[in-house]
């Protein structure tokens, strides 16, 4: 069951920006309330719009930025905040590894730029698109950078707007979970993928309950992918 990934050469370059931005809109919608909330919290922690914007540009990682702002407000040391950021964001190494398959053979400069925009959200959207076909690295880069622009803008806007943001309006807080659900549905092709998802979900919930922090994502993903891979091999081995 090898992934049949089209190479970028098969996809016309034309329209890459428009198609990339169109694919990114659910991410941007989901980032809006998160970014606004982060900007408000950052302001309460004593960070101005420039400081929040700079953090969003340099770090571009939602949950790590929330934690960093809370730690700043609590007076944590620089070392502790940096170490926490590293741990929280380490899961991206898995996404970066998986992206090496559809981005095989692309030049280093592009990869270095592309890597900046790898998030849970852009990764999930791009992998689904690469899988469907008709997707290339330029469209994928447009997804990354549209999400990045929305994130920076939303966090700065939250900082400028201050305290008054209507919370939970229109169920917007569910935008990203709904997007992840749909992208998960796209991924459920065949028994192996279904079993891998079930194992990942079970391990993630069990780990989440017992171990503080975000390690559940990496632990569950590695465990489930390995279990799924073992099942795949066994099934292949038993076929004539």
């Amino acid at each position: 069951m090898t992934e049949n990934l089209e190479t970028s050469a098969d996809v016309p370059r034309e329209g890459w920006l428009r198609e990339g931005m169109a694919a990114a809109w659910p991410i941007c919608l989901g980032y809006l309330p998160l970014g606004l909330a982060l900007g408000v919290l950052a302001r309460q922690a004593g960070l101005g719009p420039w400081e929040v914007g700079l953090m969003s540009v340099l770090v571009f990682a939602g949950s790590a930025q929330f934690i960093a702002v809370a730690m700043l407000a609590a007076g944590s040391s620089v070392g502790a905040i940096v170490a926490t950021t590293f741990v929280v964001n380490f899961r991206h190494f898995l996404m970066s590894s998986a992206l090496a398959v559809p981005l095989a053979g692309v030049r280093r400069g592009f990869l270095a730029l592309f890597a900046y925009g790898i998030t849970d959200e852009s990764f999930s959207v791009n992998l689904a698109r690469f899988r469907q076909g008709g997707w290339d690295r330029w469209r994928a880069l447009a997804v990354n950078q549209s999400a990045n622009a929305a994130w920076v803008a939303a966090t700065v806007a939250g900082s400028l707007a201050g305290t008054f943001i209507p919370e939970g309006a229109f169920g917007i807080g569910f935008a990203l979970p709904a997007m992840f659900l749909c992208l998960l549905v796209f991924q459920l092709q065949g028994r192996i993928h279904l079993l891998t998802a079930l194992i990942a979900g079970l391990v993630a919930v069990a780990w989440y309950r017992v171990v503080p922090g975000d390690s559940y994502v990496v632990v569950a993903a590695v465990a489930a992918a390995s279990a799924g891979y073992a099942l795949q091999r066994r099934r292949r081995g038993s076929q004539p």
Binding site: N89, L94, C182, T196, A200, R209, V217
Partner: protein
């Protein structure tokens, strides 16, 4: 915290975030990978998505206890069905938000 201290902080945060995003891609994309690794990496997206979403649906974020019947889980059921039937990402996001809102989720 002075401006230069803050600059140092966010630069260091940026560096430790960027490296795990960049190093695997730079190391792996320009060499021929063994088929076993390609197959394993092919299962990473589905595993990551399930690992990200499951605790949101089945556990309470504040107490980290197993909770069935939160608006997140109730909204997820019609959202999942809609995604399954339509295969529309944008539509699913909007339907999910509407269900979550109607169920009183925040």
């Amino acid at each position: 915290m002075t401006w230069s201290d803050y600059l140092l902080l966010v630069a260091a945060m940026g560096a430790v975030t960027y490296l795990p995003r960049a190093l695997p891609l730079l190391a792996l994309a320009r060499r021929r990978l063994p088929q076993g690794l390609v197959d394993w990496l092919g299962l990473i997206p589905v595993a990551l998505l399930a690992a990200l979403i499951a605790p949101i649906l089945f556990a309470d974020g504040a107490t980290r206890t197993l909770t069935l019947g939160r608006p997140e889980l109730l909204a997820a059921l019609p959202t999942f069905l809609f995604a399954w039937k339509t295969r529309s990402l944008g539509g699913t996001v909007l339907v999910g938000m509407a269900c979550f809102w109607l169920l009183g989720g925040r």
